[in-house]
């Protein structure tokens, strides 16, 4: 057969193609090129000559350093298992049991992502340190070192795991459980044979995400890790202790490995068909079971109390003159010393986070729309999808340094954004890219794939369908992305600490400075302010969803009917 049409193949939708090109180019400029300028240093020696794998050989020949590889895997593995189990149990309690206080538990689960990670460390020290509240009650654990890192990483990754399971356990096919009941299966069999397979994909995903997050985190090891070496502290030692960027680049590339494995696993899992819920599924009726409810309530309550304790400890720290030695009450710590940027840094953080949220959400949504729904440029779409997982594996320090190398270069025409708030916004958009991308792509995949075809047949321009149908239909997801960007930008430190302009200090960095200077009380006070803002943002979202949830759900159901 002649393939005559290939020759005269024309681009059906030129404006879409141009937009795709522009966005791909932006994405490359924001992530790939800066990373390249850093990673290339892994293969160079200090004077810029080619070193091949020499740096890697050198790295692994130092026993102390290669121990940190084992340490990191060890810590990340334990963290991912515990976080996943807890996240599952907590979500299961909220979705599949009849316990009380579900709403409060749900909000409480998100607390850790509303404050900078250094705060988890501070909280743990206030609770379990030598002078810790729990320690003084005779509840001693050695918090400095491995245990502290693991606890801190669990606090850090738990909300991610919980959120994944909370979504996954939402839909259940009640028929399966009814059939199992009629066959006389006991609870354990039902759990192993129905519930677990249902969430198999989420389970593996959660393990990988928690593993990757703790693999690259520096906040916890720095504050509470003591002498326990992990890859992230190695990176810090190489870069900020010995100023050896080549070795730093070597460690950075090693830190990418789990993300690449995640991607490979994701591909392998996705290519096999993971079960979808049939439209004939009926709602699962949660049966009464006092014992089960009591057990799950205990789990939730313990986790909840733990978070409450940390917030309590923070408040205590923020409101006491000098904990633990001078326990009189004061508001003085909220008068931030001008040197850390004062209250202005808090305002700056809000401005930066808003800008990040606005531009990040627009970019992600448009770009993922073109990737998921566009008809042009298959290769570019594949690349866009592939690279979307990389940022989750990038320690902030890697982003920060690579942005300096790339954007501060004289040859770079974008040089003018260096030293402005724009570079902070860009760094945040890249740093937190992976999760919102998944959210956006997921929401778009739920939309009927023929909307665009219908519109084309009716000669409605593409942008109009996008604005009038895809955007309103995905509005909850869009808000979610906005919130994710905002909340994370409020608390992030590791990347922006290298990039913030001299005249634009931000609150999360200020907290680190306060912590470093020993001003735990001020750090706690500022953290409470950030927590408050994040709660307000989250609260507004919940209020919006409360009034629109039913309508939105029904609109979505129309698309699921077939």
């Amino acid at each position: 057969m002649m393939l005559n049409n290939k020759q005269k193949l024309q681009i059906k939708n030129p404006s879409q193609s141009i937009l795709m090109l522009v966005l791909t180019f932006t994405f490359f400029t924001g992530m790939v090129l800066p990373l390249f300028t850093l990673f290339i240093k892994a293969f160079q020696n200090s004077d810029g000559g080619f070193a091949g794998f020499g740096n890697y050989l050198k790295y692994f020949s130092q026993p102390a350093l290669s121990y940190s590889v084992i340490n990191t895997i060890n810590v990340s593995f334990i963290t991912s298992v515990i976080s996943t189990v807890l996240g599952f149990a907590y979500a299961y309690a909220l979705r599949r049991t009849n316990i009380k206080l579900k709403k409060i538990f749900r909000y409480a689960a998100l607390f850790p992502i509303f404050v900078p990670t250094v705060v988890h460390g501070i909280g743990l020290i206030v609770l379990f340190g030598k002078q810790g509240i729990l320690t003084q009650l005779g509840f001693f654990i050695e918090i400095y070192g491995k245990t502290g890192i693991i606890l801190s990483e669990i606090i850090y990754t738990f909300p991610q795991s919980f959120l994944m399971f909370y979504v996954a356990l939402h839909y259940a096919d009640g028929r399966l459980y009814e059939v199992a009941d009629s066959m006389g299966c006991n609870a354990l069999v039902k759990f192993l044979r129905i519930t677990l397979p249902e969430v198999k994909y989420t389970l593996i995903n959660s393990l990988f995400v928690c593993f990757t997050l703790s693999f690259t985190d520096f906040g916890a090891p720095k504050v509470i890790g003591g002498s326990f070496n992990v890859l992230a502290t190695d990176l810090y030692k190489q870069v900020a202790g010995q100023f050896n960027f080549n070795m730093g680049a070597v460690v950075s590339t090693l830190l990418l490995i789990p993300a690449l494995l995640t991607f490979a696993a994701d591909r392998a899992l996705n290519s096999g068909n993971f079960s979808e819920i049939s439209s004939k599924a009926i709602k699962l009726k949660i049966k009464d079971n006092k014992l089960r409810d009591a057990m799950f309530f205990t789990v939730c309550f313990l986790i909840f109390s733990f978070f409450l304790l940390i917030i309590g400890a923070l408040t205590l720290d923020a409101l006491m003159k000098y904990y633990p030695y001078e326990r009189s009450f004061t508001f003085g710590h909220f008068k931030f010393s001008q040197s850390t940027g004062g209250i202005q840094s808090f305002v700056n953080s809000i401005v930066m986070s808003l800008l990040t949220a606005v531009f990040g959400t627009i970019f992600i949504f448009v770009y993922s729309y073109l990737i998921e729904k566009g008809k042009e440029m298959r290769t570019l779409k594949k690349i866009g999808r592939l690279l979307s997982v990389v940022p989750i594996a990038l320690p902030g320090m890697v982003i920060g340094l690579s942005f300096i190398f790339f954007f501060n270069s004289r040859e770079n025409p974008l040089n003018f954004i260096y030293g402005t708030v724009v570079i902070l916004v860009l760094a945040n958009i890249v740093h937190f890219y992976s999760v919102p991308y998944v959210t956006a792509a997921g929401a778009l995949r739920k939309l009927d794939k023929e909307f665009e075809s219908i519109a084309e047949s009716m000669r409605i321009p593409g942008w109009k369908v996008f604005l009038k149908v895809s955007v309103p239909m995905s509005f909850p997801a869009i808000l979610e992305i906005f919130m994710f960007y905002f909340v994370n930008s409020m608390v992030t430190v590791s990347a922006v600490v290298f990039l913030y302009p001299a005249d634009f200090k931000i609150a999360s960095v200020a907290i680190t400075h306060m912590e470093e200077a020993g001003d735990i009380a001020q750090a706690a006070a500022m953290s409470l302010l950030i927590l408050l803002v994040n709660l307000i943002i989250r609260g507004s979202y919940e209020i919006y969803m409360f009034f629109n949830r039913k309508h939105q759900k029904k609109m979505e159901e129309v698309m699921l009917d077939d």
Partner: protein, 332 residues
Amino acid sequence: MSYLKVENIYKQFAGKVALEDVNAEFEKGELVCILGPSGCGKTTLLRIIAGLETADGGKVIIDGRDCTMLPPSKRNFGIVFQSYALFPNMTVEQNILFGLSEQKKLNRKQLRSRALEVLELVDLTEHKNKYPFQLSGGQQQRTALARAIALSPGYLLLDEPLSALDAKVRSKLRLEIRRIQRELGITTVMVTHDQEEALTMADRIIVMNNAVIEQVGAPRAIYERPENKFVADFIGTMNFYHNSTGDFGIRPENIILTKNKPSENYLTGKITFLEFKGAMIRVYSKLHDNCEICADLPAETAAAMELTENDTVYLRIADRHLIQYAEALEAV
């Protein structure tokens, strides 16, 4: 000259051939069904006619114009998908107005009156302010149809438009679609895997299988004179029969079944199963050579004959009903 024509269409997806040298013509004002099992390429052909897919080879000619490489927006058609793809966040009327409002020629008032006109046509006027989730399946389907015809397109494409509906609603809507199509006199191409739908609605049927067209013709012709075994088997029920003179097919309703031995030209069988089909009874019998054959008789006749399983019956087949196939058939 035909209104719509596809010539030597070739299309493959990732090395798998979806359409192999497909030729078809569609006359102005007729309703043509493309019928075939899933995966036969029928939807791909429809999407190529719409311009939603581009053929790897061949031509699409619409109203005398070569439209092969034209984007959908320049082809002037309306389309209804299996999922309807109604915009869930818009009311029935807004769904229709969304496309209409791109018509720069019409003012606001004209737009609204056109919308009301098509809503009237599909009998949805009273539901115009409802959202899709407030409508029944049948109403959603009619909304999609109204939206597709609102712009007075040159031709209408229907992709399995009824398959998501209950049997009862489906048969009602068949008539409805046919009525509207006749009223507008619009050239319509409908893809379906439901032979009954094709037989009842179409002016002509194109039967497809494995990326090629098997037969084209009026429903009656296709039913009575299927040109090959695939068509014969796919449409209606067909008994296949093989003897020394060749391969034959016979429809169950064309077999005369008696309990009394006829004088000549008969086959003897033993009833294996009786299937009650409402107005009809389908009698399955086993012939002496272990061949199974089925025959339909009116329920009343069957009752009168007092048929039961294991009865011996005699079957007569009139020559004029026998369809002979040139190609050798494997035993059925």
